[in-house]
Homo-oligomer: 326 residues x 2
């Protein structure tokens, strides 16, 4: 298999590039004219670290690689623009396998308005996908960073928590799902294998006054710490308010784990965590609902530093494991 | 080692970002305001495929990863802008090792005016570095693609050929260098381990009328074929005109190889191959020399298709191996 043949097959499968992408795949570099300010992020998924082919289909691996990258754009409230893909092709991945993986990327790209504009396909000892995404906004202030939270503001989270961690548990130990409906198990697996970037919700939050925003990739506790540190505030979270994904409590119980650890420390939910003025809560909830995403008020920003997640018994939850390399 | 500690160490070592980079490393995405049109490219270097730690220092690996990416911007005549780094960290690479590699990137970034604006550092089974670079130009037409060559134009190449391939030979088989001065062997190793992106030469070529341009990563023959195909012309190259790097003929002879195969098929020289109107040859040569790069007239664009490299005996050279995945 040659890289050029693979690229030719890939190019045939992609839609025409939009007008601001003057040159896409196939030259030394892609040429674009960004309409204003750009937000750029890159994420890598590596076999054995971030996924296993035993339970993730190739299309799902491609989907997740782009979803994870786009989730960072969602957290900036950026409009998705272009994506640049690095694909490490091991000896046991066929050309058809490459196409299946790239199709997973291309489908999510199409449904989110992202243009695949370039990349590098190279043989490698192991499978890995890294995607750089470029998002657009009118000006730098159109984007929401991690740094704008103020004491007294409300802390909200989109969607549901713990689903991706519970999904990973049932993928690794299918017997844990025996006590809940198969449909629910399937949903949890989907949360792990095919996360959906909250692009519309991110823009809804920005348009209704979000002052700081981050996506939950490392776990609520860890990402809340980043937001608190960059904003120079403390965050107080009420664990009883956390919106648990259906089935998380049951899977946690079957695994002998604290379900709050899954919800607050499990990671990979790719929901958005944001602060905003309390008086905006009504407006933002209605806008987010229109964007198809639930929104839950889970805490507040306070003077000080650090993150406290308070348990029902008044003790503090210590989300573990979110500060390690990976 | 935590990713955040490593990022903190890295951020301390980087110069302040220029004004058009509003947010650099440390948020969900970097925020920039591109001044006009952008050229974006990504390249990956993978241990065991593109380098070996037995002969490449960590700083050299970092340097080469960025150089290879910037070489694509050179071939577009773009001004280097931002770089986004994915670093795969295997178990046997220490935090100090990571810093040494990232320093190699940072040094070339500083000397070329490139801002390290983001990235992803993740553990992985093997060492790999992928870098996305964004370059700038006033408008899309400021960039030189592969597609503009016209029949009758001159074909020129910067610098010298075959050095990187000869350098790889002496790195793998040091005894091949026994017959030439140690200084020359060292130069050839440098061509392989620390290529220099021809950024100034690329802009010089563009400013004096280059109609199409490509960097020589796969080998002169292979990259000439890309340029010919994208432009819809044929290319005729005189092998006697090829500017051989000093020592290439001797290393090839010691290895029992045809030196023209090294020069035309060896790859990784990261010189620029360009077409331009014949009447511009004088002007472009003088501009390139001012930019510190020699320029050699090696052939011409003709009606038709494909690439012919004519040997001194009138036969055709068939550069091998440039069309494989990798």
């Amino acid at each position: 298999m040659g890289e050029f043949e693979l690229l030719a097959r890939l190019r045939e499968r992609l839609p025409a590039a939009p007008p601001h992408v003057h040159v896409g795949i196939g030259d030394d570099a892609a040429i674009t004219v960004p309409p204003g300010a750009t937000a750029t992020s890159v994420d890598a998924l590596i076999e054995g670290v971030h996924f296993r082919r035993e339970y993730a289909g190739l299309g799902q691996i491609g989907h997740k690689a782009l979803a994870v990258a786009l989730s960072d754009l969602a957290a900036m409230a950026a409009e998705p623009g272009e994506a640049y893909v690095v694909l490490h092709v091991p000896a046991d991945l066929s050309e058809d396998g490459c196409i299946e993986l790239l199709d997973g990327i291309a489908e999510l790209a199409a449904s989110t308005g992202t243009t695949l504009a370039g990349g590098d396909i190279t043989r490698a000892p192991g499978l890995a996908v890294a995607i750089t995404v470029v998002g657009h906004g009118e000006e730098p202030r159109s984007f929401v960073t991690r740094a704008g939270a103020r004491a007294g503001e409300a802390l909200v989270v989109t969607g549901e928590l713990g689903g991706a961690a519970a999904g990973l548990l049932v993928l690794e130990r299918p017997e844990l799902g025996a006590g809940i409906p198969a449909e629910l198990v399937e949903q949890l697996r989907g949360r792990q294998l095919e996360p959906q970037p909250r692009l519309a919700a991110g823009r809804a939050l920005a348009s209704t006054g979000a002052s700081a925003m981050i996506d939950i990739s490392d776990g609520l506790g860890g990402d809340a710490r980043h937001l608190a540190a960059e904003s120079g505030v403390g965050l107080r979270i009420d664990s009883e308010a956390l919106p648990l994904a259906p089935g998380v409590a049951e899977i946690a119980a079957a695994a002998g784990l604290d379900f709050l650890q899954l919800a607050a420390g499990g990671g990979e939910d790719y929901e958005l965590l944001a602060t905003l003025p309390v008086q905006q809560l009504g407006a933002v909830e209605s806008t987010a609902n229109k964007a198809g995403t639930a929104l839950t008020w889970i805490g507040e920003a306070v003077r000080g530093e650090g993150v406290e997640i308070r348990r029902p018994d008044g003790g503090l939850l210590e989300p573990a494991g979110f500060d390690q390399l990976g």
